[in-house]
Each structure stands twice: as C-alpha cells, then as structure tokens.
C-alpha cells in the first residue's frame, strides 16, 4: 500500500509538471463546453446567455395593436432577436442575399381588421430551407405566440359577449322592475281613491244617521214620560190601602208583644220554658220604598232604538292586469369554434425548457475525461515503457500490478477531480442544474472515471505504439461519446444505435447525469447506471491487465 501511494504520488507529480496536460484536462474542456454549448444552444431551445439568438427580420405592414403585440412577444423571446424592417423586399434580401437570417416575418396590411372581421388571414414567413433548424425554431415560437394570442383573443371575446349578455339581462331586469313599480303605484292610487270615496260616503251616512237617531231619541223620551206619568197615577191609587194594612199589622205586632210579655210574666219561673214566638216578617225595603211618598218605581228603560247604518263598502277594485315583461331568455352565443390545444405535461421532472449546458457540461466532461484517460493511462504507460522507467520499476520490488494500479488510481482521482471541477464551472458560469441531490453526482462520476481509466489500460495494451494511441483510442472514445449521447441527446439517434450504445459506459453515465441533473431525480436513479459502469470498468480492467501482461511478457 505504501508503494501504491508512492506510485500515485509520482503520477500526480508528473501531471502537475505537465502544463499542457493540465490545460487539456481543465481549460480545454471548458473552452469546448462553452463553444459547444453556445453553438448547440438552439438545438435545445434555450441559451441562458442569449448569445446564440436567431435574427428575425420583421416587417409590420399592419401596424395595429395586435401586430405590435406579436412583435413585442417575439422580442421577448430570448432565442430570437427581432430586427424591424421597412419592407418585404428588405426582408427577402436579409434571408436570400445577405443570409443574415433563416426566416423573416411579414405581418400583412389589414391583418388585424381581417381577423376581427372573421376573415382568413396569414402571417407571411420568408424562409431559407437550408437553415432548417432555425426555421423550425422560429416556426415553433411563432406558433406558440399565435396560439397564446388566439387563446387570449378568444377568452377576451367570450368575456365581452358575456358582459353584453349580462348588461342586457340587467336592462331587462330594470325594465321588469319599472313595470312592477308602475303597476304597484297604479294599484295604490286606485286603492287610495277608493278609500277616499268610501270615507266620504261613510261620513255622509253617519250624519244622516245621527239626525235620525236624535229624532228617534226625542220620540222615545216623550213616550217614556207619558208612560211614567201613567204609572205614578196608578201607584198612588194603590199605596193608601197598603199603608193602612201595614199600619194594622204593626199595631197588632205591638199587641202581641205585650201579650207575650204578660204571659212570660205570669209564667214566672217557667217563663224561660216558653218557646219564643215566631217573628213577624219585616217590610221588604222595595215595598217600603214604594210606599215612600213621591217615589215611583223606575220605569224600565225603553229599548234603545239605535239607528244603525249598514256598513258601507265599496266593491274591491279590480286588480290591474299584470305587466309582465316577457323574460328574454337570451340564446347562448354560438362562440368561436372549439379550439384544439396541445397540453404539454412534463412527467420527467425536467423544466419546460432545457439549459443547453445541462447537456453539454456532463457530455463534454465525460468526453474529455475519456480523452484524458487516453493521455494519462494509455500514453502514460507507453511513456513509461519508452522512457524505460516501466522496466526499472518492474525490476524493483514493486511489481506490474502495483505499477498499473498506481497509474489507474492516480488517473481515477484526477478524473474525478476533473469532473467535479467542470461541473463546478458549469454551475458557476452557465447555471447548470445539479439536481436535488448534488452529492449524488459523485456516483456516476466515479463510475465513468473508473471505467475510463480501465479503458485506458485496454488501449495501452492493444495500441501497437505510442503514436497509435491517439488514432486508435480517440476513434473509440469519440464513437463512444457520440453514440452515448455526450454531444447531443441520444434520442436523436436511430433506435438500433441507441441499442448499440448500451454497450458503452458513456451511455450509462449520460443517463445517470440526465436523470440527476435535468430530470431532477434522486440518487436511486444513479445506482443502476453506476453499477453498470463499474461492471464495464471491471471488464476493461480484467481484459486490460491480461493483454498488457501478455504484451509485456512478450516484448523483445
């Protein structure tokens, strides 16, 4: 282990002395990533720096608000740089002759008026068929703006129609209310008139009744006086005999009482045994009052003769006919024809637009990692062989395995550091996403660094000479990188190529990086790719050691 550390330290020291190697490992990939990222930005539809925006000449013949809105939205697109032009001819020259743009947009005169009139109208796009990608990008963005504007216009029209419907409904409702109010007022007026007439009639009837009542009362009073006079006369005739009888009875009562007192006196001691005599009845007070002089029995009152008027009433007024405003059920507006939209739902977890560097930073980092392994492991081993240090080390108690392990371990560490550096630069300079778990990137980084280092050993074992390392190795590395999706999205490749690419660790590395960085998945998505890369690394290692040992042992 001590000697392994010694060999690793030696290789790292050699690398530190190799300025060209350091530039290749650090600066060169940054330059290539920057150039490639900016060059390919439009492939991904997003360039965070705005450096690669397409120039889009725009001729606004209409000049209306809608045309201005289209222009404004185009100018807001980071992938486009709108260049207002005065005429179609100038726009054609930009596309055809000067080749400054792959497309030019003309908004024809009367564009908005025709639209408002419901007439078909077109935006005119001058194109250069050679600039296919630019044309697609411009069409895509123009289509998006058109869809958005159409949707907004449709919604605005619907809102306007609804507002008019609501206003009409409001007016109808007001009319109905006014009608109802008028009806109520008319009814009230009639009722009040009726009440007034009734009250007047009642007053007159009451006056007549009162006069009649007075006459009746006077006639009744006269009749009652005549009757009382007659009764008094008859009572006076009866009162004298009755008084006489009552005086006799009183006298006899006194005589009886005297008699009784005599009896009792004579009875002596037995007087107490004599039962009391029955008492004489008292004169009833009514009779006593009747016998009083001048009093006459009150005559029973005469029945009151009230003159009553029948209750005056007026027949109820007829209800005014209901003034019903016919309910104007407004028919639903036909509205514009149904709109066919495409709803894009990203189920991968990625954002709507990709940062070109999210693809290019890991892709070119992997590429340069592998190229670095060619230089570091393959050419490093062949350098040692050519220098003679390899034989010298083998003649020492170090061993072939330690020499190879030291070289691979050193380059593995350098590769991991290189990838981390490039990712850090990508993050700082280009804002690449490192995903929700940046630490998880260490797994595929370690996997591809291991596989790359082991692959470098294979190249060192099969390359016939130092000079052949780059032609042989770089051809394989470039193929693996390209097919593995390091330079462009692997989905651009045909299906068979994608299947073939599964045989390369680059494919698995990019799969893991895309999952972690772009699709923002968790570390679990990196486990299988890392395991596969490790498997490839072990395979390369076994093959590389076997071939290299064979080569060393057969060397002259």
């Amino acid at each position: 282990m001590r000697r392994l550390g010694l060999l690793v330290a030696k290789d790292l020291r050699l690398l530190l002395r190799d300025r060209a190697g350091l530039v290749f490992l650090g600066l060169a990939p940054i330059v290539v990533i920057t150039v490639a990222g900016l060059s390919l930005a439009n492939l991904y539809g997003s360039d965070p720096t705005g450096q690669s925006a397409y120039e889009l000449p725009l001729v606004d013949e209409d000049g209306g608000p809608l045309a201005r809105e289209i222009a404004r939205r185009l100018e807001a697109e980071p992938a486009l740089r709108v260049e207002p032009l005065a005429s179609r001819e100038e726009a054609e020259r930009w596309v055809r002759d000067r080749k400054r743009a792959g497309t030019a947009l003309v908004i024809p005169r009367g564009f908005e008026a025709a639209l408002r009139a419901g007439e078909p109208v077109s935006l005119v796009l001058y194109t250069d068929a050679v600039k296919y990608l630019e044309r697609l990008n411009v069409r895509l963005r123009l289509g998006q703006i058109r869809d958005a504007l159409a949707a907004e216009q449709r919604e605005a029209a619907e809102r306007e129609a609804q507002a008019k419907r609501d206003a009409l409904h409001l007016q109808l409702s007001g009319l109905q209310t006014a009608f109802e109010q008028a009806r109520k007022e008319a009814s009230t007026e009639a009722e009040q008139a009726r009440e007034r007439a009734l009250a007047s009639a009642r007053r007159e009837a009451e006056a007549a009744r009162r006069a009649t009542q007075e006459r009746v009362d006077r006639a009744m009073a006269a009749a009652r006086a005549e009757l009382a006079k007659s009764v008094d006369a008859e009572l006076a005739a009866l009162r004298a005999p009755l008084r006489g009888y009552l005086d006799l009875v009183a006298e006899r009562r006194r005589a009886f009482e005297a008699w009784l007192a005599e009896i009792q006196r004579k009875a002596g001691s037995h007087a107490a045994e004599i039962p009391p005599p029955p008492s004489f009845p008292e004169l009833p007070p009514e009779l006593a009052q009747l016998l009083a002089e001048g009093s006459a029995p009150a005559l029973p009152p005469l029945p009151a003769l009230d003159v009553a008027l029948p209750e005056l009433s007026l027949p109820p007024l007829p209800e005014p006919p209901p003034l019903t405003v016919p309910s104007l059920a407004l028919p639903e507006l036909p509205g514009p024809p149904g709109e066919l939209r495409i709803e894009e739902v990203d189920v991968s977890g990625a954002g709507a637009t990709l940062n070109t560097f999210d693809q290019n930073v890991p892709g070119f980092s992997v590429t340069f990692l592998l190229l670095g392994m060619l230089l570091g492991v393959s050419m490093g081993l062949l350098d040692e062989r050519d220098w003679g240090t390899f034989d010298r080390l083998r003649s020492l108690p170090v061993g072939l395995g330690s020499v190879l392990a030291g070289k691979l371990l050193a380059r593995f560490a350098v590769g991991v550091a290189q990838m981390l550096l490039l990712f850090a630069v990508g993050r700082a300079a280009f804002g690449v996403s490192l995903g929700p778990q940046p630490w998880a990137l260490v797994l595929p980084i370690a996997g591809i660094a291991f596989a790359g280092a082991a692959f470098g050993l294979v190249v060192a074992a099969v390359a016939p000479s130092r000079e052949s390392v780059l032609p042989v190795g770089s051809a394989v590395v470039v193929s693996m990188a390209a097919m593995g999706g390091c330079w462009w999205p692997i989905d651009l490749e045909p299906r068979w190529m994608r299947r073939v690419a599964l045989a390369f660790p680059t494919t698995w590395a990019m799969d893991a990086f895309n999952d972690l960085m772009i699709r923002r998945r968790d570390v679990s998505r990196a486990l299988v790719p890392t395991a596969v890369m490790t498997g490839y690394g072990l395979l390369y290692l076994a093959v590389g050691i076997a071939l290299f040992r064979r080569r060393v042992e057969r060397a002259p």
Binding site: L6, L7, K10, W387, T389, D391, R392, R394, L396, V398
Partner: protein, 327 residues
C-alpha cells in the same frame, strides 16, 4: 573510489549470478540459446556482442523482466523465474534507455526510485543525496531531467540503479551516446561499486569499454556464447601479428599486395568506415608496413591514412564470427 551510499550485500555463495543453458525466444526466433555463465561477487563482467546478439534479452531475464524460455538463471541465489521478488531484492537494473522521469528533478527521480526499491523515507533521502553527489549532479539536483545533457542523464540513470545497494548490478549499454567525461565518471562509479563487493554485469558493444573496465568478457553473438575470459586471455587467443588499415584516394587494383613478404590480406572493412578506399592487412612485423607503403606508392596511389594496431577483442570477435562487432 568507494561509493559512500552503496554497501553491496555480499552473498554467501560466491557466485551471485548463475546462468545455465538459458534460452530466450521471440516467436520462432531464439534470441538467446544455451547461454551459461556465472558472476562472482566483486567481479565486473561485460556481455560483449553486436546489436541483436542477445545481450539485452539476457539482462532482461536476470532483471526478472521476462521469464526464460529455456534453462535457468539466478541472482543472489534466487531463481529469477520462481523467486523473482527475492531476486529483485538483490539486483539493481540500469536499462539501456534513460529510465528517468524527464519532468521531475534529479533529486525527485532519485528519491522516488529509492522509495520504490523499498527504502524508508529517511534512508531514501540520504541515498539520493549521496548518489547524486557521487555522479556529480548535486549542483543540478533540483533541475528537471529534461534539461540535462545525454551524459548527465546517463550518470543519473546509473545512480538510480545503485540507490538500494544491490548485490548484483545489471547495466544495459550504460554509456551509449555519452561524452568521454561522463563515461569516465560512470566507469569510476562502476569500478568503485564492484570493489565494494557487488557483481556487475554490463552489456556493451564498445570493445574499448570491455577492455578497460571488465575483469572478464562474455563474447556472444546470435544468442550464443562464443568465448569467455579476461580480455588479455581472449586476445591471446587471437592470431598473432599486427593489423594494418590503409586508406587511399582511389581503389587499389586487385592483388596489389601479392609478393609482399609478411603481408596477408584481411577481411575488408565496412564501406561506411573512414575516408577514401580502405583495405585491411595482417602484417607480421612493423617493418612490413613500410613495404606496403612502398608498393602503394609504386602503383601511383596516394595514402590518405595508415593505422597499425596490435590485436584486440575486435580481432577475436572477427576471427570467431567472420564479422566485426560494429556490423
């Protein structure tokens, strides 16, 4: 001169390197075949032979870089095929190429290889400092190897093979492309190290190096051992007399040397060597050279260059293989 940092571990077995019936094959071609030799502690031995003779293959087996296809080899008593890790503890290998990291400094290279050889941090620092001082690179210790001359790199290359004081030092063409000054420093270091008890085996195709530096020479060609012995003993095996090489502006006519006493034609030199048209002759005595010059003058040719040498390993190899070492 003794190297202060290197105290080689002497083996109990005097023969610290033993190679028996070694065979190394690349495909159907045998680069080394039936090669056997031994090295004793403190001995400096050269594997001398032309390019492709099997020197590097032999050293590769001994350095445990490849397994032998036939035979066996051991270092410090440990078989390089079955006990390579034990054998590595005993050997120090200096590859033919400058096995250094060019962007690291001399000190960083030395410290790294010292640690890789198993020294702890402190001893590794001390060994590195001393090694750099020994090969005369202390003042440039912090400079990147890429800024060094070829000779300085070769010196550092050697120093990095000595850091852990191996009992056996294997040098593969250690002086290729170096200046005379650096070569002398390297020789001094190797001699000093061997005097410390280490066995040194180095491959070379420079005859002079073998003659100057080695206690013993293993002369090999096409993977086989042709001859073995001290340089003097090998030279004695060569044909007697002197060797004359002559250069003229125009080619001499066929048979021009006939009739000259004590003179016999030798193998023609390589076309690319030297100026003008060159011929080689065996002469029995120095006076025969004068006769040769007279004959050439009589034929109307001007002599551009004349060299008379005693016999050496080159001649030994020539006689054994019919080819020159430099072919």
């Amino acid at each position: 001169m003794r190297l202060p940092f290197a105290e080689p571990t002497a083996s109990a077995d005097k023969m610290t390197v033993r190679v028996e019936q070694l065979g190394v094959r690349y495909g159907e071609r045998w680069a080394v075949r039936d090669l056997s030799f031994e090295l004793a502690a403190g001995e400096v031995v050269a594997l001398l032979g032309p390019n492709g003779a099997g020197k590097t293959s032999t050293l590769s087996v001994l350095a445990t870089l490849r397994r032998p296809d036939a035979g066996s080899a051991s270092v410090g008593g440990f078989d390089v095929a079955s006990q390579p890790e034990r054998a590595k503890q005993k050997l120090g290998f200096v590859p033919q190429s400058v096995a250094l990291y060019p962007t690291l400094s001399a000190l960083e290279n030395a410290r790294f290889f010292a640690r890789a050889a198993g020294l702890a941090r402190g001893p590794a620092r001390a060994a590195a400092d001393q090694a750099l001082a020994t090969v005369g690179l202390s003042e440039r210790r912090d400079d990147a190897v890429a800024t060094f001359s070829g000779g300085m790199r070769r010196r550092l290359n050697l120093a990095c093979g000595l850091l852990h004081a191996p009992a056996v030092l294997l040098l593969d063409e250690p002086t290729v492309g170096v200046d005379p000054q650096s070569r002398e420093r390297i020789f001094d270091a190797v001699r000093s190290y061997a005097q410390g008890g280490a066995a040194v085996l180095f491959s070379t195709h420079y005859i002079e190096e073998a003659e100057l530096l080695c206690d013993r020479v293993l002369l090999i060609d096409e993977g086989r051992l042709l001859a073995e012995g001290t340089p003097a003993a090998l030279i004695r095996r060569a044909r007697g007399g002197l060797r004359l090489e002559l250069a003229t502006r125009e080619p001499l006519p066929h048979g021009w040397e006939r009739g000259l006493s004590g003179v016999e034609p030798a193998e023609p030199p390589p076309d690319s060597v030297g100026l003008g048209h060159r011929v080689r002759l065996h002469i029995e005595e120095p006076a025969a050279a004068a006769r040769v010059l007279e004959r050439v003058a009589a034929l109307g040719h001007a002599v551009l260059e004349l060299e008379v040498r005693p016999p050496g390993l080159q001649q030994v190899f020539l006689e054994l293989t019919g080819r020159e070492l430099r072919d």
